[in-house]
Symmetry: C2
Subunit: 153 residues, 2 copies
Amino acid sequence: MTTPESARARDDARRRHLSAEPRRALGAQDLDRRMPPYAAAVVVFDAEPPFQTPGAGAFRRTRAACLPYFPDACQTEGRDLRLTVSGDVALAHWLWRFTGMATDHLARQTLLRSPAGSQRLRGRWQIVHEHASVPFKPETGHATFTLDPQSNT
Amino acid sequence: MTTPESARARDDARRRHLSAEPRRALGAQDLDRRMPPYAAAVVVFDAEPPFQTPGAGAFRRTRAACLPYFPDACQTEGRDLRLTVSGDVALAHWLWRFTGMATDHLARQTLLRSPAGSQRLRGRWQIVHEHASVPFKPETGHATFTLDPQSNT
């Protein structure tokens, strides 16, 4: 049943997730704006190594190490967002891709898949888990890059 | 604040997630036991193609297509489970690997990373999103297989 409280929580979380999209820039000047929504104890499963990154501090260092490979104009755009909210927990998943870089840049060759779990801690929504991935072909161990999520390849 | 209701929801979800582990067998005889906790509208991001699988029916067909590649004795075991529950939504993430197969089987060469989001719909907890992945090296497009999640490679 949707109560006024749960409707407010849903709206808050949706607004936060959608407004977070433009903050996913990897340009150096945007890193500090990117980090605030992450809980101190977030666990990140990123598209590239390491296998898992425990904590917002470690994730910030991992992100910072990527910056030289991305132009300042780099942004992301998302699609197919689905959001589930109840009480103080929100689950979102969506597809996204990088924009604002040369079309032959490695990071432009695929959509990525992300779920993010958020929790309202002391009145503030924070990301407690985030994940980004592409599938891989088990026969070859190669990641399968696609800009067409309906594709079976 | 933990209320008796939220404590019960947490316990229910934890029990369901933990008891689901032994059901993650891919042996043909286990497929029907594996499917019931999935919501009809689940969206799955699996470790191998397709890029996304919309719906429990499509996910069942994808799973069925994998069965010839897995021995009947195949099981999984999980670790590092973290669970966040509020109201009717639960978020879990954990690491897992296949067991019960020859050590040189392709599926034995790595841990996998999974989050799952569950929702209590009409009183019954159901998985509304599940994801499994390994990271890949962007320079080569190769998935990076590891049995040591602390490794940075």
